[in-house]
Amino acid sequence: MTTAVLEGVINAEAELSDGELVAECKARANIYRILSGAFLEEPTAEYLQAIRSPEVMASLRGLGAAFGPDFTDAPIGQLQEELAQEYAVLFVVTGGCPAVESIRLYGRFQQQSFFEVRKIYQQAGFKVSGGRFMVFDDQLGAELMYVAAMLDRAAVALAGGNRSDYVETIKSIKRFWALHLGKWVRGYASLLGRATEYSFYREIAKLLGSFAEWELGLLGVRVDDVDGGKLKVPLAEIEYESDSNEPVCNACEKGQPGKGKSAADQLAIDISLIEERLQRKK
C-alpha cells in the first residue's frame, strides 16, 4: 500500500467513536507486534505459521504486502532455517545493518538513544527482558513492542472511560515517534527492502515504511527521517590539509592537490559490492 492510499485511510477515518478508537488501537498494536516479531529475533516456526495463516495473509495483502513464493510456498522448517540465516546476515554479523537506533543514528552500539528509550520504558513501567537473545533497548523490535504495549494501555484506558489517561498515553506515543522511531525507521525500511534477498524481509520492510508514514500522519507528528537509508554515504564538505611528503596519507589520490577524482566521484565511498547485490536481484 502506498503512502497516498494510507493517507486516504487516515482522512476517511478521522472521526471515530470511542469504541472504534479502541478497536483501532488494538489493530494498530497488532501490526506493531507483527513487525516487532520480525525484528526482535529470528522468526520462529509459530510466528511464521501465524503469518502464513490465511487470515493474516489476507490482512497483510490488504495492506499491500506481496510475499513471494520463497515465503509462501517453502516448507516451514526450511523457511525458518533460511530466514534465520538471512536474519544473521542482515542484523547480526560483521558488515550487516543491525536494526538498532544507536547504530543508525550514531554509528555505534549503545549510544544516547539506548539510554533515552530505556528511561522512557522505565517511566512507563517496562523493562526489556526475556526472548531467546539479549536485545538492545533501542532495537527496532523493542521500540515497536513498546508502542504496541502503550496502544494496549490506551485502549484499556479508553474502554474504561478514562479519557485523560488515553490522551496522555497517545501523547507519549507521539513523543516516542518524534524522538525515536520517526527519526530512523522510514529510511531504515527503505534500505532493508533493498538489502535483503528474501521476500519476507522485503515485504516486512515495505510494511514498516508504509506503516510508519501512516502512524506519523495519524499521530500528527512531523519529523525528518535522519537515517535516510541511503546506500551512499554523503561525504562532508570538509577542507583538509595534505602534505605530499607525508607518507601516511600521500597514497590517497585525494590527499594530493590536483590529483583528486571528479567531484561526483568524491561524493561516496565504494559501494560496488552492495550495488552488485542489488543489481543481481534485479
Binding site: 544473521a88 560483521t94 543514528l105 611528503n245 597514497a251 565511498i269 565504494d270 547485490r277
Partner: protein, 870 residues
C-alpha cells in the same frame, strides 16, 4: 621612581628569572589538576572515572575510562600509574570505539554455508557450548593433543593455558614467532630475562638498533617519555641504526642507515673497536661473565669495522666513532626491537647488540641497561597438571632452542601431516592477516576441512581468520572484562587490573567465563576431573583469588585497592607534579639498581654449596654466585653468570659466542633487487585497529617506501603505481619516494589492506548498508577511499633456527612500474611457492643440510645425531 623602559625591563627580567622561579605558584595547568577527573561539557557534572589497564596494544598503559549516563565517553591516562604517568597514546584514546563498534559480534554464530562464504546462524550459548563440547569430547577420546589452541594476545592471566592444560593437551601455540621471539632467545640464555628495561631517563647515550621506540615499538609510551627526558633534561645522545628514517630515527642525534639484516655485524664491529682500544669494563666482564676479557678480545678480533662496513654500508669511521662515544660516555645503554631480531639468525644479532652494554659494564647501573622489573600474581588453586605428552606443533624437534615456539610454520606442518588436529581454538589471533603468507597460506589451511575439521574462534569481530571459522564464541572487549596485569615497562614494578567499565554488550562473555562454561559442559558432573580447576563465580572472583593474598597489596586492600586505583606500585606513589615516584612525605624514591648484587642471607646459604665457578647451589638449583668472598644472587641463568658463551647453542651446532651470519640470499643482490621490510604506524596495531574510526582516519594507506635513487632507476615518483614481486607472490601499490630509506631496501606499513574486519577496515559495504546515520559527524567525515594494501601475502616464512622468529625483513623483491593489467590493491600469493619456501628455511635448522655449511667454525660439532643420542 622606577625607570621603566623596554631596555631596563629586559635587564631586570633576565636577572630576576631565578627569583621568579623560586616564588610560590598557585596557578597550574588545568590538565594537570584535572588528571583523573572529567566534567561533562553539557551536564557540567563530574563523570564517573574508572581506572583500568589499556589493552588496545600490549604496552599496558594505565588508563581511566570516563562514563556518563552509562556510556563510555572518553579515555585518558591514569595519573597514578607509575610507568605511563597519565599519558595514553592515540590508540588508547580511541579505545571505546572497539566496544561500540557496529561490526562487533554480540552472539554465538554457527557457520551454515561453506567456510568463508559468510553465511551464519545465530545460536544460543547453550547450543554453542554443547556443540563445541561434543567435538572436544570426541577429539579428547582420540588424543588430547588433537585439540589445539592458538592465541594472539593472551592477557587473561593464565586462563587460556589453564583451559588447554585442563583438557590434557600440550598443543598450545602463541604468536611470538611473528613478534619478538628471537629477541627473547638472543637474551634469555645470556642473562636470564627475555627483555631489557633501560634507564633512558638517566642515561647519557642511547644506541638504538632497529627500534621505532618513540612511537611504535614495545613499551613506546613509557619509554618515549623517558627517552625524551633523557635527551631533553639529561642531554643524552640518541643514535639510531635503522634501514628506515622512522620518527625515532628522525628525532635521533644521528640516523645511520644500514642494509637490512646487518645490525649484528655493526654491533660486533663496535665491540671490536671497544675491545681493541681497551675501552671495555674489564672488572665487570671478569667478575660477572662466563668469558674473560682476554677471551673476548681474542674472539672479537675477527669483527673488524672494515668487514662490517662492507656488509652494512656503514662507514668504517662511523663505526669507530660510535664505538668510542658509546664506551666513553657513562652511563649508556643499547636498545633493540625487531630490527635486528626478525631475520634468519636474528638471535645472533640480538646477542651481538646486548654485548655492547655488557662489555662496557652498563648492566644494572643507573642510566644503563637494566633487568626487567615485573611483579607476579597468584593462580587460583588447584591447578591442572601438565599434559602427559608433548605436542609436535608446540615443541618442534627441529627447533629445540625456540622456547617461544615457531607458530608461523603451523599450516605447513599440519598440511604435511606432522600432527593431526581435530578441534582448533583460536583466541585474539588473526594469522590469516598477520602471518607470512597470509591468505595464501593460513587461508588455505582454514578452508580445508580435512586439515582443520572443526574450528572455534573466540573473537569480538569477524576478521580474516574468524570469517573462516565453524563457530564463533563472542568475546568481550577489554573495557568489559576482568584481567590481571603487570608489565616491566619501567623501573618501578607494578600490578594492575582491567575491570569492566560497562556491562558486556549483547551476549558477549569474558574469555575465562566462556572457557569455564565450556569445561563445565564437557565435564558437567566433574567425573572427568576437569571441573575442579574451574571453580570460580565470575571474573572478579577469579581476580580476588589472584590478588587478595599478595603480601602488602593484601594489607592495602587487595583487589579493592586495584579497583579504585587501577595500579599498585610497590614503592610509594607517583607525584603528578614531578612525574617521579615519591614516598608519603613527597620525597623522591629512586629506582633500585644492581639487582644482581643483592646478597644472599645466611638462611639462603644454609645447606648451599659453591662450585669452582663460584655458582652457589642449593637443592639442585643455582641460587647465586660468589664473588670476592661475597654471595650475590647474580643473574637468572643456569650458573647465575652472564653467559657470553651459551653452551646450549654449541650443543646444537650453533656458535655459542657472539657472531653474525649474513643472510645467504642477500649476498648477491642484483641491481634490480631490494630487501622488503615492514613497519608499524604509531596509531595501529597489527590487525585490530583498522576498524577504529579515529585511527583509520589518521592512517589508512601504506605506499611502498623507495629511496630517491632507487625510484629514479625504476622511473617512478611518489603516487605512481608499482608492482612489488617476491618469489612467492606479488602486490600492486603506490610509491612513496624519499631519502629516508636505504637504497637497497623498501618497506610497507602493516595494519592496512584488510579484506575482512568490518566495513571501516575494508572500506566496502559488503552485504550491509552504509556506515550509519547522518547525525554522526565522525561518520560523515569518512572521506578516505584508500584502505591500503597488505604485504604479508608476498612474504615467505623464514625461521631463525635458534630463536624461531619469522624473518620479516629478509624478503628479496623486485619493484617495477605497474603494468597495464596491474590494479591497485592486487595482492596474490601461491601456496606451493610458500610451501617450497618453508621447506627451504627448514634446511637451516640444526637438523638441516645447510646448518653445517653456515657454521664452518663449528667443525668439531658431532652433528644432529649426537644431540639425539644425548
Amino acid at each position: 621612581m622606577f625607570e621603566m623602559n623596554r631596555r631596563t625591563f629586559l635587564k631586570v627580567s633576565a636577572g630576576a628569572t631565578a627569583a621568579a622561579a623560586a616564588a610560590p605558584s598557585v596557578l597550574r595547568a588545568m590538565e594537570n589538576e584535572l588528571g583523573g577527573k572529567d566534567i561533562g561539557p553539557v551536564t557540567m557534572a563530574e563523570r564517573q572515572a574508572i581506572p583500568l589497564t589499556c589493552h588496545v596494544c600490549n604496552i599496558q598503559d594505565g588508563a581511566i575510562a570516563f562514563v556518563e549516563d552509562g556510556r563510555i565517553v572518553k579515555l585518558e591516562g591514569n595519573p597514578e600509574h607509575v610507568s605511563t604517568r597519565g599519558r595514553l597514546c592515540a590508540k588508547g584514546n580511541a579505545g571505546m570505539w572497539y566496544t561500540y563498534n557496529p561490526d562487533r559480534v554480540l552472539y554465538p554464530l554457527k557457520r551454515v554455508g561453506a567456510r568463508g562464504e559468510g553465511k551464519w546462524k545465530r545460536i544460543s550459548w547453550d547450543e554453542a557450548l554443547a556443540e563445541v563440547a561434543e567435538k572436544v569430547n570426541a577429539a579428547h577420546k582420540q588424543d588430547p593433543n588433537t585439540i589445539m589452541m592458538k592465541y594472539g594476545r593472551d592477557r587473561t592471566g593464565g586462563a587460556i593455558g589453564r583451559f588447554i592444560t585442563t583438557l590434557g593437551s600440550a598443543t598450545v601455540v602463541n604468536h611470538t614467532s611473528v613478534c619478538e621471539s628471537s629477541k627473547k632467545i638472543g637474551m634469555q640464555p645470556t642473562w636470564g630475562p627475555d627483555i631489557e628495561t633501560p634507564d633512558f631517563e638517566n642515561t647519557k647515550y642511547i644506541l638504538n638498533f632497529g627500534s621505532n621506540i618513540m612511537e611504535a615499538a614495545y613499551f613506546h609510551n613509557p619509554y618515549a617519555q623517558r627517552i625524551t627526558e633523557g635527551v631533553a633534561e639529561n642531554h643524552a645522545k640518541l643514535v639510531t641504526f635503522d634501514t628506515r628514517l622512522s620518527n625515532t630515527a628522525g628525532r635521533s642525534d644521528e640516523w645511520i642507515p644500514v642494509l637490512p639484516g646487518t645490525d649484528g655485524a655493526v654491533a660486533l664491529a663496535i665491540g671490536h673497536v671497544i675491545l681493541r682500544e681497551d675501552l671495555q669494563d674489564t672488572d665487570f666482564i671478569d667478575t660477572w661473565c662466563n668469558v674473560s676479557t682476554a677471551e673476548l678480545k681474542k674472539h672479537y678480533k675477527q669483527f673488524t669495522p672494515e668487514w662490517a662496513s662492507k656488509l652494512s654500508g656503514v662507514p668504517v669511521e662511523t663505526i669507530e666513532r660510535i664505538a668510542r662515544e658509546f664506551a666513553q660516555t657513562k652511563p649508556a645503554t643499547t636498545y633493540t626491537y625487531r630490527g635486528p631480531a626478525k631475520h634468519l639468525y636474528g638471535s645472533y644479532n640480538e646477542k651481538a647488540t646486548m654485548m655492547l652494554s655488557i662489555m662496557t659494564g652498563n648492566v644494572e647501573k643507573r642510566g644503563g641497561y637494566c633487568l626487567p622489573r615485573g611483579m607476579g600474581y597468584n593462580q587460583p588453586e588447584p591447578m591442572p597438571p601438565k599434559p602427559a605428552k608433548a605436542s609436535y606443533l608446540a615443541s618442534h624437534p627441529d627447533y629445540p632452542l625456540a622456547e617461544h615456539k615457531v607458530s608461523h610454520m603451523t599450516p605447513f606442518w599440519i598440511a604435511e601431516g606432522k600432527q593431526k588436529i581435530n578441534v582448533y581454538f583460536t583466541y585474539m589471533d588473526n594469522p590469516v592477516y598477520t602471518n607470512p603468507g597470509a591468505q595464501a597460506v593460513w587461508g588455505k589451511l582454514f578452508r580445508d576441512e580435512k586439515l582443520i575439521p572443526y574450528y572455534v574462534s573466540i573473537s569480538t569481530v569477524i576478521g580474516e581468520e574468524t570469517a573462516l571459522a565453524d563457530i564463533i564464541l563472542p568475546d568481550c572487549m577489554y573495557l568489559e572484562r576482568w584481567e590481571p596485569e603487570s608489565m616491566p615497562n619501567s623501573l618501578w614494578p607494578w600490578l594492575g587490573i582491567r575491570q569492566p567499565v560497562i556491562k558486556p554488550l549483547g551476549e558477549t562473555r569474558e574469555t575465562r567465563i566462556i572457557l569455564r562454561d565450556l569445561i563445565h559442559k564437557i565435564d558437567p558432573n566433574g567425573s572427568k576431573g576437569m571441573k575442579k580447576y574451574w571453580n570460580f563465580k565470575d571474573g572478579e572472583d577469579y581476580m580476588r583469588q589472584q590478588f587478595d593474598t599478595i603480601p602488602k597489596l593484601k594489607e592495602a586492600g587487595g583487589l579493592d585497592f586495584l579497583k579504585k586505583h587501577g595500579c599498585w606500585p610497590i614503592y610509594g606513589k607517583l607525584n603528578p607534579r614531578t612525574g617521579k615516584i615519591s614516598d608519603n612525605t613527597g620525597r623522591e624514591i629512586q629506582a633500585e639498581f644492581g639487582l644482581h648484587m643483592k646478597e644472599l642471607s645466611a638462611a639462603d646459604m644454609a645447606g648451599a654449596t659453591v662450585d669452582g665457578h663460584g655458582t652457589i647451589r642449593k637443592n639442585g638449583n643455582a641460587i647465586g654466585v660468589r664473588r670476592n668472598g661475597r654471595n650475590f644472587v647474580g643473574f637468572g641463568t643456569h650458573d647465575r653468570l652472564i653467559n657470553i658463551r651459551v653452551e646450549e647453542w654449541a650443543k646444537y651446532g650453533f656458535n655459542p659466542m657472539p657472531t653474525f651470519k649474513q643472510i645467504p640470499w642477500h649476498k648477491e643482490l642484483k641491481d634490480d633487487e631490494l630487501i622488503l621490510g615492514t613497519h608499524k604506524f604509531n596509531v595501529h596495531v597489527q590487525s585490530r585497529t583498522a576498524s577504529v574510526k579515529w585511527l583509520a582516519e589518521i592512517a589508512h594507506s601504506n605506499p611502498v617506501w623507495l629511496n630517491t635513487e632507487t625510484a629514479a632507476k625504476i622511473g617512478v615518483k611518489t603516487g605512481d603505481l608499482v608492482r612489488v614481486e617476491s618469489a612467492v607472490g606479488h602486490l600492486v601499490t603506490k610509491a612513496y619516494v624519499t631519502e629516508g630509506i636505504h637504497p637497497k631496501s623498501c618497506t610497507i606499513a602493516t595494519g592496512c589492506g584488510h579484506w575482512e574486519y568490518g566495513r571501516l577496515s575494508t572500506l566496502n559495504l559488503k552485504n550491509g548498508p552504509e556506515f550509519g546515520g547522518t547525525d554522526d559527524a565522525d561518520l560523515n567525515n569518512v572521506w578516505w577511499e584508500d584502505k591500503g594494501v597488505h604485504p604479508n601475502v608476498i612474504i615467505p616464512a623464514v625461521v631463525d633456527p635458534i630463536g624461531g622468529s619469522q624473518g620479516w625483513f629478509d624478503t628479496v623483491v623486485k619493484v617495477t612500474k605497474a603494468g597495464p593489467d596491474d590494479k591497485y590493491g592486487d595482492a596474490e600469493g601461491d601456496w606451493e611457492k610458500h610451501h617450497a619456501a618453508a621447506k627451504q628455511t627448514m634446511r637451516y635448522a640444526y637438523t638441516g643440510d645447510l646448518h653445517r655449511k653456515m657454521h664452518p667454525e663449528m667443525a668439531s660439532w658431532g652433528g644432529a645425531g649426537s644431540v639425539k643420542e644425548d
